[in-house]
Amino acid sequence: MELFINKVLAGISTGAIYACMALAVVMIYQAIDHLNFAQGEMAMFSTFISWQLMQWGVPYWWAFLLTIAISFAGGILIERLLFKPLAKAPVLTNVAGFTALFAIVNSVAGLIWDFTIKQYPTPFGSSPFLGSQLISTHQAGMIGVTLLMLLGLYFFFQFTRIGLAMRAAAALPESARLVGINTSWMIALGWGMASAIGAVAGILIAPVVFLEPNMMGGVLVYGFAAAVLGGLTSPLGAVVGGFLMGVFENLAGTYIPAVGNELKLPIALALIIIVLVFKPAGLFGRAIVKRV
């Protein structure tokens, strides 16, 4: 029983990271109808920035906040420079754009910081949380920071005018323009926020997976799986999907003897396929009906 609870809690803590990545992916998908393959690499780059800041002597939480701000600006910049011009381009052109972004960010990170694996600090420590052997303080911190951020995002989208405008622009761009919303900037803002959310995910998971240019590869696959599971049209679904994914992955790795640690990732991919076959809109998503 203790093993079970331990695995569930560990699953929730990694699930929090998957939830962040899934949410970032969904935010951009809602805005421009494309999956950002480079979301993980952007998060990795942000994490490197925070590491660099700490190397220069900036305290952890200052580096954390600064990195979020830099990532936010960077996300907006990427949208303005690369994806705004591609807004009316065919799907494949966009896919090429995302793939290019993936490769560029990955290589540039390798060029600046090289590919050796680096230790990444945690401000929470890794002692048992509240004296319990079930969960470490860092894992608890991952869950706590993620929940705080999700709560903040919920209030932003539910109760601020700019949040309302962003929701409107994502739901019905033409109607949004007709009430005077600059939808193009709402998309840029969405990119900025997705990039900032990714940065938080990267910083939180870095002490677990260690810092290197390919650190987010597996994480992003789980993030995609979580987004598909919850429904690409639903931010809430993405978050729930992320936590479910984390728990599911951990339990499968523990209790299904054939799976083990090595086969955890294929499980995520299998889940994507199963969801797409049986419930293409995901658990919380709505089916997209297009009139032709």
């Binding site: 309302l164 405008a165 409107a168 949004a176 323009r177 007709l178 009430v179 005077g180 919303i181 600059n182």
Partner: protein
Amino acid sequence: MTAMLNVKDLRAYYGQVQALHGLSFSLNEGSLTTLLGANGAGKTTTLRAICNMVRSTGAIEFEGAALASKSTENIVRLGIAHVPQGRGTFTTMTVEENLQLGAISRKDKAGIVSDIERMYAHFPVLKERYTQQAGTLSGGEQQMLAVARALMLRPRLMLLDEPSFGLAPLVVRDLFKILGKINREDKVTILVVEQNAQLALELADHAYVIETGRIVMSGNAKDIANNEDVRKSYLGY
């Protein structure tokens, strides 16, 4: 009276297809004008061209400002509210959020709050349902909501694209009564595109008839309603 909106030699295109062939008309401040015509005559395209939602050439001036180079959202911010065909309701949001969105370009918080109350007075049914998802409203209620959302901008000019579409005759009468009231009391200039010519001519004080992208007739709404030839050849009733 001065012309509030001046449209000169408007030509609009969907890809290679030309939908408007040099349309010219003007709206007087405070007027309630209707633009009539058969299916495919170019009524919707005319409204979309005013808000720069379709590629067009020609001159459109609103209160002295040229609209051609402005984006849709900036044209709206000048005080032109556009209720599109199909209403453009944010169906996944609540009635109140839809009204808030109508006023999203305004900064005066107190004014917005009092305007929402005013809309509830105009349309009591919206007050009963203000926390409900807009998509759950009936067609008539959604049209009321679309008009209310447009009014939340405090527009100087309101463009309505077939507000009667898909509504029961009684509901249409109600809606048109409210439009008349808004025009008189709130001094909003209105341009309404309609296929229901009879009703639109009762409501409007001025009318244009449009056929295959050209204005073929204009005049006092009553005169046009009484003109036997016009009725037979263009309005079909």
